[in-house]
Amino acid sequence: MFLIRFTEQALVELYLKHKIMSFVHFYVGQEAVAVGVCNNLRKEDRVLGNHRSHGHYLAKGGDLRAMISELLGKEGGSSKGKGGSMHMIDTSVNFIGSTPILGSVVPLASGAAFEQKYNKRKDITAVFFGDGAFEEGVVYETLNLSALFALPLLFVVENNLYSVNSTLKERRSANHNVEKIVTGFGVTYLKADGNDYEDVFEKARMLTKGIRAGAGPAVLECMTYRHMAHSAPIFDDAAGYRQEDPLERRLERDPIKKVRRSLLESGIPENTLVTLEEKIRTSVAESIQCAVDAPYPKKETLYTNLYA
């Protein structure tokens, strides 16, 4: 969680210095979801994500340097500069890919789970997507399909109350009931406090256990806040649309603060924590420097990789 937060904080600075020529959707505030879920996954388990996937990628163990290089459009990026921030991938840790076309990744994840079942693997797949993407028809088709085939698939819905600047109220009727919809498909449903690492971890643990045991797909809806603007490296409270999640509430419920508090309460001395934080910050700074110094892709590579 600290790694994700510190990386993005450093990226904000970099972005503001105009070095990032790639759309960036920051994950700040939602870290407990990625980490709470991924800490229940093994290396062989698969993860797919969306446009806001720096956190999912790092939580699954994706390579930091390759990620930053990708954001900077460098040759050594995880997609050789072709993808950018909205297209994270590190198949060495089974982070299968992330794409920004909302909802599209959900059936793809069911395909990953389909393969696991088809080849009788013991592994599972988790797919991260937002409350906005949860309104695409294909997600409901996939809920049905994955229940039909009893796929080893965990749908992780990160409900941060917004799709860009549109609140849930502007997109759903007052009677909308996610739990009823999901369970109506015959899919298990749990809701977690997405600002609370322990709650996410515990509920993801229960669900992944069931999925591994062959109980079929499940949805974990995590209620959380996106701290920053939809796709810019700024806090947009001044714009006035944040009616649902004012700054004080976000900061008070900041998952990082909460984790820090419980680490201290569990007996870890403050200075151990500070040393650890420093270590993470240093490694982030090193990775950034390394990516900044790295070469850009050569012109010829524009034409490569079209076919496998």
Binding site: I20, M21, S22, F23, G73, K74, G77, S79, G81, K82, G83, G84, S85, M86, H87, T99, P100, I101, L102, G103, G132, A133, F134, E135, E136, G137, V138, S163, V164, N165, S166, E170, R171, R172, Y241, Y296, P297, K299, T301, L302, Y303, L306
Partner: protein, 360 residues
């Protein structure tokens, strides 16, 4: 103040110079047409925001609170709902912030709206405007920059226009909202900040007519949208060396071949500029039709400029080579006439940041 001669009036009247952006011109056309026609409403993701849809729907929610609909992230659903509303007498504007998002509603656009009147034997109009944004901007990458113009040109039953300037954007949108058919307006994102003097009052531009931007005798250049913008810029680079006739194709469904054939007959040379992949694009269609026309005798092989047949990557180190630039166009023209080529390197800004120029 500047003297402007209004078309229908014989006396010249004074009109204030009014330079506005492409996005503002779209907003203004929408505002004025919503004022004129209560059947018009707009639906799409974020269209109700204060600066909605990249400014193209700015402020409309407060003027028409009951007719501007932000909506759930459900393209297939809300596009189909709008098509159904059009069949039943309303005149919706459906906005898709990227052409890729509209593909989730491909069935509704291509297979339902485009076929409805024909397959029921006529008399069943579908008056609807699909405003679809075509991405081009640094950092957008393979899934936000597909320039799928030709895809829309390929489907009979749709009228498909590509505004190349603020004035065209306003005039074409007004025409689209007066038409009884499904009109797709493909809006190159690259042009949203260019400016022009645009008449304040309602006016329309024909949906099916190409426009001759500059007359010339030696070579016909056919372009549209952001490619036309670069072609305009190339005029200055080429100067008097070559006498260019520049045509804005405006509509790719149907294509105004009358204007194009007439021009090529005169010049005997043809260059087409596309900002999409080379295969199956607008230029290849135009060149094919010119080649089939027995009354046209070409003096040299037609030339086509376009993007390479790969997705548009994300890194600016690669997109630098992706789109045909004003220098590429100028040099293609100069080499046709065996003139010395221009050696000009474009700045990072010129290559990667959307233009903010004011055009004539």
């Amino acid at each position: 103040m500047r003297l402007i001669r209004k078309k229908k009036l014989s006396i010249p009247i004074y009109m204030p110079e009014r330079i506005i952006k492409y996005s503002e011109a779209i907003q203004e056309a929408t505002d004025q047409m919503m004022g004129a026609d209560p059947r018009v409403f707009i639906i799409g993701l974020g269209v109700s925001y204060p600066k909605g849809a990249d400014g193209t729907t700015a402020g409309l929610k407060s003027t028409y609170p009951e007719r501007v609909f932000d909506v759930s992230v459900s393209e297939h659903g809300f596009t189909g709902m709008a098509v159904g509303a059009a069949i039943n007498g309303l005149h919706p504007i459906v906005h898709h912030g990227r052409v890729e998002f509209s593909l989730l509603a491909a069935d509704q656009i291509f297979t339902q709206a485009a076929k409805w009147n024909y397959m029921f034997g006529g008399g069943h109009p579908v008056p609807i405007v699909f405003r679809i944004n075509v991405g081009r901007q640094w950092g957008n990458g393979p899934q936000h920059t597909q320039a799928l113009y030709a895809l829309f040109g390929n489907v009979p039953g749709l009228k498909v226009v590509i505004p190349s300037s603020p004035k065209m954007a306003k005039g074409l949108l007004v025409s689209a909202l007066k038409d009884k058919n499904p009109v797709v307006m493909l809006e190159p994102r690259w042009l949203f900040n260019i400016k022009q003097n645009v008449p304040v009052q309602l006016f329309s531009e024909p949906l099916d007519k190409a426009v001759i931007i500059k007359e010339g005798a030696e070579v016909t250049v056919v372009a549209y949208g952001d490619g036309l913008f670069s072609a305009r810029e190339s005029l200055a680079l080429v100067g008097d060396t070559v006498d260019i006739e520049l045509i804005d194709i405006v509509s790719i469904n149907p294509i105004d071949y009358k204007t194009i054939f007439q021009s090529v007959k005169k010049t005997g040379r043809l260059l087409c500029v596309d900002t999409t992949n080379g295969a199956f694009n607008v230029g290849s269609e135009v060149i094919a039709q010119v080649a089939r026309n027995k009354s046209i005798k070409l003096k040299s092989n037609p030339v086509a400029l376009s993007c390479p047949n790969v997705p548009c990557p994300t890194s600016t180190a690669l997109t630098e080579f992706f789109y045909p630039t004003k220098v590429d166009i100028a040099n293609a023209l100069l080499s046709t006439f065996k003139k010395p080529l221009i050696n000009q390197t474009l700045s990072f800004e010129e290559l990667h940041l959307a233009p903010t120029d004011t055009i004539q």
